[in-house]
Every structure is written in C-alpha cells, then in structure tokens.
Assembly symmetry: C2
Amino acid sequence: MGKKTSITSIAKHLGISTTTISFVLNGKAQEKRISDQLVKKVLDYVEEIDYKPNALARSLRTGKSNTIALIVEDISFPFFSAIAKEIEAKAYKSGYKIIYSSTENDTAKTEELIEIYQEKHVDGYIIVPPTGIQAKIVELCASGKPVVVLDRYLEGVQTDYVLVNNDESVYSATKYLIDQGYKNIAFITLNSLQSQMLDRLSGYEKAILDNNLTPIIQKLTPAGRLEREKELLSFLEKKCSSIEAIVFSTNYICVGGLKAIKQLGLRIPEDIAVVSFDDYELFEMYSPAITSIAQPIEAISENAINLLLSRLGKKASEVSQNPQKIILSTTFVPRDSCTK
Amino acid sequence: MGKKTSITSIAKHLGISTTTISFVLNGKAQEKRISDQLVKKVLDYVEEIDYKPNALARSLRTGKSNTIALIVEDISFPFFSAIAKEIEAKAYKSGYKIIYSSTENDTAKTEELIEIYQEKHVDGYIIVPPTGIQAKIVELCASGKPVVVLDRYLEGVQTDYVLVNNDESVYSATKYLIDQGYKNIAFITLNSLQSQMLDRLSGYEKAILDNNLTPIIQKLTPAGRLEREKELLSFLEKKCSSIEAIVFSTNYICVGGLKAIKQLGLRIPEDIAVVSFDDYELFEMYSPAITSIAQPIEAISENAINLLLSRLGKKASEVSQNPQKIILSTTFVPRDSCTK
DNA sequence: TGATTTTGCTAAAACGTTTTATATAATTGT
DNA sequence: ACAATTATATAAAACGTTTTAGCAAAATCA
C-alpha cells in the first residue's frame, strides 16, 4: 500500500536485481539464461501483486511508445470513423494504441497537432492532410518516423500513400451518365485545392470533353454546412431547368443537394439524375436509391495500417526507403437515381 | 545533428543548469526569480534550435500524461463518432489528447484495454461500458483516476455518469403513438442487459400498461448485423398484419427494420408506423421522414468532458468525492412516419 | 590439474524531465 | 559595519524502466 509497485520494489522484495526481473518480464529469460526457478519466482510474485509495468518509463528508455497518431479531417464523418475503427482494430492486434484528432482542414491546427505528437514520441503517423501542410510533413518524414498519407496526394512529399483512383472513378461514372443519354451534366464540388477534389473534377472534365459536351461546374464554399446548402439551393434554383444530371464530388455535398432537390420539388431521376462520390448508408435507403462511387474503406484502412506496421519493424534508415503509392479502385454502385 | 536535443544538451551549450531551463520553459521564471536576460537567452536558443521537450520524460516525472482514454462501443457508429469529435475538440483546448478504442461490447477486450491504459498512465477515462465490467470499473475508480461513464448506468459503481432519461423518453414517444390512435404497438430491441436498453424497454412497457394495451416485445440477437436483419424480417413477416406501429430501441435496428418493411412492401405510416430511438441523418431524409427520439450529443459530450476536466484539476483524494449523475433530456422529433 | 567456456546473475548507466534543497551574491536594514 | 533578507542560480535526486558490460561460480576441456 505504501510504495507504488515498480520493478525496483519487486527487486527489493525478492532480493534480486531489477535486471533479472526485466529480462523475465520481457521474455528474455531463456536468452539471458535465467534459471527456471528464478523465473517462476518472479512470475509468481508479479502475478500475486498484479504488477503492471509503467509504459511511460519503458517508452522513455526504449524510444518506442507503441502509439500511432491518426489525423483525419473529421472523425465524425462516416468515412473517417469507419477507417478509424478498422485501423484501431488492426493496430490493437499488433500492440499499438491509436491517438486521434480532427484537423477540420485547418493547416495551423494540424501543424500544432503534429508537434504535440512528436513531443509524445508517437511511433508512426497516418494522416489525411489539409492543403499547405507539405513542408511540415516533409519535416516529419525527415524525423525518421514512418508516415502514411491517406486520401490525398501531396506534391513533393516522398512517403507512403494510400489513395483511390479518383479521376478514373469519376470519369467512368460520368461516362455512365452520358451512356444513359444525359447531356447536360453538372459537377458540384468544393472550392478546394485538395488533390482528391481536383482529381475528381478532372475526371469529370475529361469525360465531358471526350464526349463533346459542355462542362457545368459549381464550386461551393468549403467551410460551413449551412452556407453550402444555401449556395446549393440557389444554384439549383437557377440551373435546374437546364441540367439533367449532377455528379457530386463527395457524399455530404450530395446530401445537401438532395435536400435542395426535395425543397425545389424536383423528381429524381425524372427531372434530375444524381450520382455521388463516396457511398453512404443513406444513399442505399433513399427513395430513389442514389447511385454512388463507393470507396473501399476496408482496403484503405488495411493497406494504411499494414504499410505503417511494416515500416515500424524497420530501422530508421530504411523507414523512408522505397515509398509506396497504393492506388485502390472504387466500386461503382448503380442505383435508381440515374436510370432514364 | 549528433546528439539529440534535450534540456541537458541545451544546458551544456548555454553553460547553465537544466533546472533553470526547466523553470523558464514551464513559465516559472518569475516565481523562481530567473533574471530577464537569462530567460531571454534560454528562450532565444530554444526557439533557434526548435527544441521540443520530451513529453514521455515529463510524464514519467510528473505522473501526468495529458491523455484521456475514450472507450466506446464502436467508434464507427455515428452517435459515438460525433461524441468523439466533440470530446476531442474540448480536450484539445485544455491540453489533453484522446486515445480511443471500440469495445464492441466485449467485456474481456474492455478489461484488457483498461489495463493497457493504466500502464500508459492515462489521466482519466470516459467509458461506454459493456455489461459485466462493473468490478473492473470499481477497481479503476479505486486507482484514483477520474472515470466518467457514458450512455449506460452500472449498478453499484460510484462514479460520474452522463446519461439520458431513456425510460421517460420512450414512455412519452409510445404515449405519442397511443394518442395518435395506434393500439398494437410493438417494441423491437436487443436481447441485452445494458441499462439503457432495459430502461427504454421499461418506458415502453409502462406506457403500454398505463393505457391498458398489450405489449408486443421482440428481442434480437445483439451480435451480427445480418443475423439481426434476418430475425427482423421473419418477425415482421409473421406479425405485420397485427401490428400498427413499432418503436425501435436504437437507430441501427430501425435501419434494419426499414429495410425489412420495404422488402415486405409495407407502407409507412399507412400499414405500419415507426419511431426510433436515437436520431440519424437518414431518418430526416427518408421517405417518409422517420420520427425519432434525438439524444443531445453535444450536451452529452460537453458534460462528460467538463466533468472529467474538473476532476482532473483535483487532488486524488477528492477525485471520487460526490459523484455526479447527470441525466439529460432527449428531444422528440415528430416526422411523417407516424401520423395517422 | 589448470585453462577455458558456460551458466546465472547483477551493478550501474541511460532515457529526459521536474523539483527540492541549498549555495552564493547582492541588497536592505539598523 | 554586521546581520538579515532577497535575488539568482544550481546540484542532485527522483520518476521506472532497459540494457551494456562484467563478475563469480560451475562445468567442460585438454
């Protein structure tokens, strides 16, 4: 009751050295030739007093914290929370804990977060980066800790990536609409420089131009849901008569679009067809069900954590060697929202 | 480049003691009467080499890790990820980081998680407990770290709670259906001993009995979404002719129910009315929109983290004093799924 | 038997901080 | 001018591990 249990107090009580205890507890008894009886003595006592080593002290000494930082845009977005769950589960099995935060695409906040994680000597990073964070990430990579970037590509940052083929996905979804006979197809996205958004846009543009159609592009203000929904409503109000179909660059914009469409009394797909990037349970259940481009959440998570874990096993010098760029395929999920 | 920067290397370089540097860096220069020029010298150099203190060493010495453990049922559930976001944001402002995990209602896994967090010397806990974890939580509380329990009540565990008035909420929602003229009202829940589920059930039962109606209760297998949906379908198939309305004990069961209702070709609310506990974006957008009992996510999160932060400021002896039981009210959100 | 190797264990340094107790110099009071 | 106080800075212990280097006893070898 008096003194806290520690390897030192155990050593004192058993009349042996801390070294021995440490060896036993770390499974090095064999290797270090600790006699079986002493091993038993230690293990029995440790069991008896229910001793738990102090992970902080261990981390300080070893330089490993067994913690991975997960930095996403917003943990409350289904896409990210689903990834968070998968990653946590896999990390847990390898003895790693996850410490997370939401950037809300705020670069300054993200930089600060990274600094805090560095101070905590986190072993590795899985990051969904906001724009403008390149320099900080380069610096982070240089620190020797493995970094896996998710969802977005950062020009000039040499590290592991797990991405999806955004442009191709949107190209073929747009092509699908064209093949269905739609001609006036709009693309609604965020006014953002994030690579995944640009790629989706460019996929749309290519498909439109390849088929001699006219692009109709609307870029919404990124911050503020209410503001976005207002913009959406006024855009649709003005353009709905001339637009036959819409491709939304992400699911939450699509949700706003659906609200606007309902409010304006438009019918899907008769008045307007709809496709969304990033699937969502809502889309499956909606009437009519909304066609979408589903991201392989499990594969993304699995690749990210596997990549990180494999780097974690390596020497610091090999951590940044041969960076991988894994590009996964999406799944087009045709539903009722765009059948002529 | 050679040696890592540490307070010691700085001390050596500046020809002063580590004590001084520590005082300066911790804002104790005034209190400890470090001369202004020396303070400047330290700060300038620290800035120059961009020194970051080692949080592990600090935590080891101080016993504070500035980390809070968030243990929820499943971080990918919208309810929990929304809470996670709020909690993280507030904790961040107070200098705390969040380390999370999903229990999946697995008691053994949860016990193990708690042990790992104890080893990491986490400063406090916010827990959504699975059943059977009482003893472990009592033990955890006894360790002197503050513990806030969320969403569920644990008999015999003296600690802070943040809950909602489950029984009253379901009572009045059921009463609402009765007032609308519905008589054969079913309650579909999980076969679970979790307090929030039991309370919701008892709210339903009270309302039914108070109005001289006959309870119709269906308990589904907790684990396995597919299995649950199959059970739901077969239940509805058998009973749909005799049931006029259903109250679902939680949103994901309701989603399963909606699928089954659709599959059976039943109309809402004409053939069957629906109310769900726990609101969901899908419910607002569904056709018809689904009436629900919305939990005050922000208030839950805020109360939980505030409670924890206030305890964190206190001495270990006061941590468990005067435990709070905060019971928040839900909001009934009437929509089109139950208007006769 | 004496030299060598193997076995079994440990002393002590190191990880990078914070904090207590204390030393010295400068200032003030009388 | 001497004591008492205040200002400034530091030495050293402590937090609880891991790990390197090494010691003594026992076993093996020649």
